[in-house]
């Protein structure tokens, strides 16, 4: 018989952060409580005057409904003791700066905490620093810049600091020469617009994905002399005008996609493995050294962006059906979607994993919002809308999460920088088994 007609259940609270530990004894709480009520209980036990928001995990999943609904959904009896892990909630991301451009921003990459490389549709690559100064406007492309990639410690003299791929079918490697950013070489070989570039973690090679359905593999270092492409005729060279930028030829070509390859990224855990996603609805894993398509996963939707996380060992893809899908590349049936996160109301143009957490990822979409997700919950943690009225609803095309900064840019032409403080940004030991 329940007193006062309310159903109750026993719970045990387990803290994930040492400073918020409470006594281990099981508590009896009403079943209709949700996160908010449970958070009040924990705050009361910890004796906080000002409440600290907590999030609760049951069996590895966030509790987003009342306990009664959870029990009902999983057909659990209220007799058993339910173990709830609680962790301090993440703060919402706050916008700290916004740099405006003339044209749409196509891609953004953070080289470090105070150097951001931004490619724009007017064919100019801009380098910004944290003090909202434009360190350089790099002109060299003849058409819109579709993708940029930053090399981590590439700001040293003579070394390549950034690579940009463009619709003019070349990828230009930029580096500092004499205190100025200069184009060190132009990687020629693609026969159609370059959609994506990615630099490997070791900083030695980079890949470019193109609308001509090939992925080409290049060395990052600047060539000593111009390596002309083998199949380029002298006439074509003359037409090109013999530009003063040195040419670079590809080491290898990976073909297999049917149609444009929209995105490519390196597998940080495996040497020379690359993931790519294309308009042919496939996500492919390639062994670059062997030049072989190792695995193909098909989903029925166009893939717009891929991102791999070393912490969670999962591949996140953004799709045209407004969903973000997570894949496990190491599982035997890697063709199966592990999780589908849907909340966006427009194409998911870009996804990016948190650099230090195994569970967090961010996605930017054509509906103008950035959503921060925790993969243990079906609904996003936060939705970040544009601050200014003029920017609301404008498509977001680029996203990068670096340390505790979230950079996003798109149709509005303004690069938005958000500060993200994930309080429970756990280390690699929290990665999924």
């Amino acid at each position: 018989m329940e007193p006062s007609g309310e159903a109750q259940v026993q719970i045990r609270l387990v803290a994930t952060q040492k400073k918020y530990e409470v006594p281990d004894a099981p508590l009896v709480v009403p079943q209709q409580l949700q996160r908010y009520g449970l958070s009040e209980i924990v705050n009361h036990l910890l004796g906080h005057e000002r409440p600290v928001p907590f999030d609760f995990l049951v069996d590895g999943q966030f509790l987003r409904e009342s306990i009664a609904q959870y029990l009902k959904r999983h057909s659990l009896s209220a007799e058993n003791i339910l173990t709830l892990e609680y962790v301090e909630s993440m703060l919402p991301p706050t916008e700290i700066a916004s740099y405006s451009h003339d044209d749409w921003i196509s891609s953004v990459a953070a080289a470090s905490a105070d150097r951001y490389v931004v490619g724009s549709f007017d064919g100019v690559v801009r380098i910004w620093n944290a003090r909202s100064e434009c360190e350089g406007e790099l002109r060299g492309h003849a058409a819109a810049v579709k993708s940029v990639a930053a090399v981590a410690d590439g700001a040293k003299r003579g070394r390549v600091g950034a690579v940009s791929g463009s619709q003019d079918r070349t990828a230009i490697g930029w580096g500092i020469k004499g205190k100025q950013w200069k184009a060190l070489y132009a990687a020629r070989g693609h026969t159609d617009s370059i959609e994506a570039v990615a630099v490997n973690p070791g900083g030695t090679h980079f890949v470019t994905a193109s609308a001509d359905s090939t992925i080409r593999f290049w060395t990052l270092a600047a060539p000593k002399q111009s390596e002309d492409a083998a199949d380029e005729t002298p006439a074509a060279k003359k037409r090109r005008g013999g530009a003063d930028i040195m040419s670079k030829a590809a080491i290898g070509t990976l073909s297999g996609h049917v149609g444009a390859v929209s995105s490519v990224c390196f597998n940080t855990d495996e040497e020379s493995q690359v993931f790519s996603g294309g308009w042919d609805h496939s996500v492919r894993a390639w062994d670059v050294a062997a030049g072989v398509n190792v695995a193909t996963s098909l989903c029925d939707k166009v893939v717009l962006d891929v991102a791999y996380s070393g912490h969670s060992r999962l591949l996140a893809t953004g799709h045209a059906d407004r969903a973000v899908r997570l894949w496990d590349p190491r599982a035997k049936d890697s063709t199966v979607v592990k999780l589908r996160l849907s909340s966006h109301t427009g194409f998911v143009a870009s996804v990016s994993w948190a650099p230090s957490s195994a569970h967090m990822l961010a996605s930017a979409s054509h509906d103008g919002t950035i959503k921060v997700w925790d993969i243990r919950s079906r609904t996003p943690l936060y939705t970040v809308h544009a601050a200014g009225d003029s920017d609301k609803g404008k498509k977001l095309l680029a996203l990068d999460w670096h340390e505790s900064l979230l950079l996003a840019g798109g149709e509005s032409g303004s690069l938005r920088i958000h500060s993200v403080n994930s309080q429970y940004a756990a280390g690699p030991d929290r990665a999924q088994a």
Partner: protein, 625 residues
């Protein structure tokens, strides 16, 4: 020149005839004529022009179709009525002469008549009889519990009781009951028999005061015909499900007021087979001396016995295959032939319930309703004898009690009020008993016969039950999109062309997405509130104190209308103004009607909102410490 037609020879004057003219033609008294009309189903009609029908006279008379009266001319019942009249005259004379022996002889040999031919005449097909069964059932059930009056004798009342009980047994056996509604007038039942919906009303069993202004002679005539009809229908229904008709009456149980249980319903096959076996045995034993004569019957007996033995095994095999039917019993009890029309036992609402009825609840209604839906019933001794369960029985799962406070309670059973049974039947699922516990304020008992059209006021209870029913019945195997992914890919064997996701994933239920968006919004709102320093209880308090969201209305109280709606209304107005005056009147009358209905609907809605608000605010101080 054509011959001049005489007036009033053709047309309405030929099709209609007055009552007096009919009486003269048939040579019957008025009482006999009325009885005959009732029995044959002939009713007076109203002609368009009384002057033309009555050959110039406009006096108020009753008219009948001439063809109907011609039908009556060749009715054998008329001869029976005349014989009866003569018998009455003779009897009267004998009694007047105080010749009691003659009177007794006359009475013993009184002319009787049956109405069987009428039933066959009026209802050539069985479906026709079922269509007209509503009236018959209402009349028979009414008289089954009526005290005897002049014209309705004890025999007739007993006959009605028997017929009504047989019909209820058929409904129980075939689980045909669909709807029950308790109203002021009585208890409405609706059963589905051979595709026809049959609705009848049973009065409450209070001690009725017989009204004095009712013509019981007319009722008695109707009753006579309906009894015959119901007898035929019962026979046909019982034989359709292989039960013996008429079922035997167990006098001991009947004397003990066992009600439904006093009739022994038996399967026909067993009876017949047993009869055949018994008669076969007798023949066999008699013809043992005479080989030739005995061979034939003994062969019959042996074959019959062999067939009976194999029949039982065959029956059990059939029963095992059709696992819905309960175990077959050889003789007696509730026989269960597999009737294709009957519901499967698994579908029955009270299939696993054993219900015990307290002494204050109406056993005649509840026992019928519960047993018709597969439940087992026991009752208190003071309600009647023959209960299969006593109050202390451990098997009982539900006890129906209608008292304000239940004293002693068994823990293994739920104590509910009778309305739970009826509401569950109407909702077609076992409702949550919390609203119906003993002592609880009951939710409204809504009629299942009302179809809510657009623009009608739908009571909250009805929409709640409909939503719950829909949710219960639909989407049993609704896999989430992720589960569907796994499901699909496990089936496909080819590695290369594996579809990771199903093609129609886009049709993921939109309600899920909306619900998820709502959850997300709420989460963010609450998180921000908590970060600002608001605890959960303070937040809840704020929510409660917030006034109800104001409905967005324009000045004048009408809800905002979209541009398309305004254009539509303009077009309508122009079209109406172009009509003629007569037509415009009709249109305006119709519009006034719909306007009034919508106004009533709004009044109902505002009253309901006020009532719930008042109830909530009344409950609040009690809930808070």
């Amino acid at each position: 020149m054509a011959r001049l037609k005489k007036k009033y020879t053709e047309g309405a004057s030929r099709t209609y005839t007055t009552r007096n003219r009919a009486l003269k033609k048939l040579q019957l008294t008025l009482a006999d004529f009325r009885r005959l009309c009732i029995l044959k189903g002939i009713y007076p009609v109203e002609p368009h022009s009384r002057k033309r029908a009555n050959r110039g006279s406009t006096r108020l008379t009753t008219f009948y179709y001439t063809k109907d009266i011609q039908l009556l001319v060749s009715e054998p019942l008329i001869a029976k009525f005349r014989q009866h009249k003569i018998f009455l005259r003779k009897l009267q004379h004998a009694l007047g002469k105080r010749d009691y022996t003659r009177a007794q002889t006359l009475d013993e040999n009184r002319p009787e008549y049956t109405l069987n031919h009428l039933v066959i005449e009026r209802y050539p097909a069985f479906a026709d009889a079922l269509r007209d069964l509503d009236d018959a059932l209402c009349m028979v059930f009414l008289f089954a519990t009526m005290p005897t009056v002049s014209r309705v004798t004890k025999e007739k009342v007993d006959e009605c009781k028997r017929l009504s009980t047989e019909f209820m047994h058929y409904v129980i056996h075939t689980h045909a009951l669909r709807k029950v509604f308790l109203s002021i007038k009585g208890i409405y039942y609706q059963a589905e028999i051979q595709g026809q919906s049959i609705t009848w009303i049973v009065p409450y069993q209070f001690s009725q005061q017989v009204p004095t202004d009712v013509d019981f002679r007319v009722m008695a005539t109707f009753l006579q015909f309906y009894q015959t009809l119901l007898g035929f229908v019962n026979y046909r229904l019982f034989t359709a499900v292989n039960l013996t008709y008429p079922p035997r009456l167990d006098q001991a149980l009947e004397d003990n007021a066992a009600g439904l249980g006093s009739l022994r319903i038996e399967s026909r096959r067993v009876e017949d087979m047993l009869e055949a076996a018994r008669s076969g045995d007798d023949d066999g034993s008699n013809g043992a001396s005479d080989d030739e004569a005995g061979n034939a019957p003994s062969h019959d007996a042996k074959a019959v016995k062999a067939r009976m033995g194999s029949l039982e095994a065959k029956m059990q095999a059939i029963v095992a295959a059709d696992s819905a039917a309960p175990a077959y019993e050889a003789v007696g009890g509730d026989a269960s032939g597999g009737d294709e029309d009957a519901l499967q036992a698994a579908d029955l609402l009270f299939d696993k319930q054993v219900v015990y009825l307290s002494r204050e609840v109406p056993r005649y209604s509840l026992e019928f309703a519960i047993r018709a839906l597969g439940g087992r019933v026991g009752w208190d001794r003071s309600s009647g004898g023959g209960s299969p369960y006593t109050e202390n029985d451990q098997a009982i799962t539900v006890q129906i009690a209608d008292r304000p406070v239940q004293g002693h309670q068994f823990l293994s059973r739920t104590y509910v009020q009778p309305q739970w049974v009826y509401d569950s039947i109407n909702a077609r699922r076992l409702l949550d008993t919390t609203d119906y516990l003993v002592g609880q304020q009951l939710p409204p008992h809504l009629s299942p016969f009302v179809e809510y059209a657009e623009g009608d006021y739908v009571p909250e209870e009805a929409s709640r039950i409909a939503a719950a029913a829909a949710g219960f019945e639909g989407e049993v195997t609704n896999l989430k999109p992720e589960d569907r992914d796994q499901h699909n890919s496990e089936d496909e064997a080819v590695a290369d062309d594996v579809d990771g996701e199903s093609a129609d994933e886009d049709e993921a239920p939109e309600e899920d997405e909306e619900a998820a968006a709502g959850v997300e919004k709420q989460y963010q709102k609450q998180l921000l509130a908590e970060r600002a320093g608001v605890t959960f209880s303070e937040y809840q308090q704020k929510q409660d104190d917030k006034p109800a969201a104001a409905i967005s209305k324009t000045r004048g109280g009408m809800p905002k209308r979209t541009k398309a709606q305004l254009e539509e209304e303009d077009r309508e107005r122009i079209a109406i103004s172009m009509l003629s005056k007569k037509k415009r009147k009709v249109v305006n009358r119709a519009r006034a009607d719909t306007y009034k209905r919508s106004k009533d609907l709004n009044t109902m809605k505002t009253r309901k909102a006020e009532a719930t608000k008042a109830a909530a605010s009344a409950a609040k101080p009690g809930a808070r410490k």
